[in-house]
């Protein structure tokens, strides 16, 4: 038996739309739940704002100020306009990462499809921001550093295109690999019980998984931050050009 099969998506509601498989899996449910939790938290807080913040408002303010001053600050002048997008991205990824640690919940960010979807969304947003900032031709020209001879530019254009495509790829793979690795380690530790079929090995998965779970909470935070930070960096680069 392959322990990693537990991480595979399980269909909840089979759905076909125009030949496209839009089956709702347990991963999709996690994604919906994460979106609902994030929206619900911010909506709830936005209706109960007090001058002296309570615990929940304090936490939300800490997240918002951190994202504004440490992440969105790279964008410069347009920082405030991009802040809601970055808050949404960070909160959504964090919620998915943490929901994946809840027993019986599916880890959506431990699946490449979720991380690829987020990375592709960021890629589209980055390209749209670049085109909106420089115009289509201007944005294409901004991919080549100024003063580069034409002969070099011919080689630079495909390199730059590959570089642009590599960014979402690296975003998707980094988040997926980090989250998947944590779940895989926890599953491997648990599977020791079944491999040895003895209670004597019980302390190892229990203590090991407790430690890994604590570490996974840290990883969930760090990976959400890295994904958001790099997205802000790509947006800033697209807005400024070379």
């Amino acid at each position: 038996m392959n322990a990693l099969e537990h991480l595979a998506q399980k269909p909840v509601w089979p759905l076909q739309v125009g030949g496209l498989d839009l089956t709702v899996t347990n991963g999709v449910v996690t994604v919906w739940l994460a979106a609902l939790i994030v929206f619900g938290c911010y909506f709830y807080l936005s209706r109960r704002l007090t001058l002296v913040p309570g615990r929940a408002q304090n936490l939300a303010e800490a997240v918002i100020f951190f994202l504004r001053d440490e992440v969105a600050v790279q964008i410069g002048r347009g920082r405030d306009a991009w802040l809601p997008f970055l808050i949404a991205l960070f909160s959504f990824i964090l919620a998915n990462n943490l929901l994946g640690l809840v027993p019986a919940m599916s880890s959506a960010t431990g699946n490449i499809n979720t991380t690829a979807a987020l990375a592709l969304t960021v890629f589209v947003v980055v390209q749209a921001a670049g085109i909106a900032s420089h115009g289509p031709a201007g944005y294409f020209r901004s991919l080549i550093p100024p003063g580069v001879p034409l002969a070099v530019a011919i080689f630079l254009v495909p390199v730059e295109i590959i570089s642009q495509l590599a960014k979402p790829f690296s975003l998707a793979v980094r988040l997926f690999a980090n989250m998947f690795a944590g779940h895989a380690v926890m599953l491997m530790l648990l599977s020791l019980i079944f491999v040895f079929k003895s209670y004597l090995v019980l302390p190892l998965p229990v203590i090991g998984n407790t430690l890994v779970l604590a570490f996974e909470i840290f990883v969930a935070l760090i990976q959400a931050f890295i994904f958001t930070y790099l997205s802000a960096l790509y947006i800033a680069t697209a807005l400024e050009g070379h």
Partner: protein, 160 residues
């Protein structure tokens, strides 16, 4: 996990897109607006506090300057009063000393005049007495012992 699952992929895009729209339109504007407003409020209050502190420091400095000026003027007044007091004392002493000298000189002068007057009067009386005595001597032709007794009687009478 690594297979392409269009359901999860598309639902993620849709869910995230919807979340972004809802946060942009509904949840975050009041929250971000409130935080920005509070930051402006705090910044304003901090600026006011800084201005107040600066004003207070200026007032303290001004007060200290005024206090120092008052001290300086008070010292000047005290010194001036002391000098004036000394001068008045010296003047009074000098005046008193002069007055005393004048009184003493006048007293001496009066004394001298009195003495001279007494001497003159005494001399005149002695002469008169001697003359009277001499007259008596001449008229009665007295003996030497009588002359003497007569003169002594005349002197005794003049004393009496």
């Amino acid at each position: 996990m690594l297979e392409f699952e269009p359901g999860l992929f598309i639902w993620t895009v849709v869910s995230f897109g919807l979340l972004v729209v809802l946060l942009y339109r509904v949840a975050l504007p009041p929250l971000l607006g409130f935080l920005a407003e509070r930051e402006r409020l705090i910044a304003g209050q901090l600026a006011e506090a800084a201005a107040g502190q600066k004003q207070a420091e200026q007032l303290v400095a001004e007060h200290k300057r005024e206090l120092a000026e008052v001290h300086r003027r008070a010292e000047e007044i005290v010194a001036k009063a002391r000098d004036e007091g000394r001068a008045a004392r010296d003047e009074i002493l000098a005046r008193a000393s002069g007055e005393a000298d004048r009184v003493l000189a006048r007293a001496q002068l009066d004394l001298e005049r009195e003495r001279t007057e007494i001497m003159t009067r005494a001399r005149t009386e002695i002469v008169d007495l001697v003359a009277a005595a001499a007259g008596k001597v001449i008229r009665r032709k007295l003996s030497a012992a009588e002359d003497r007794a007569l003169i002594e009687r005349s002197l005794t009478e003049s004393r009496g």
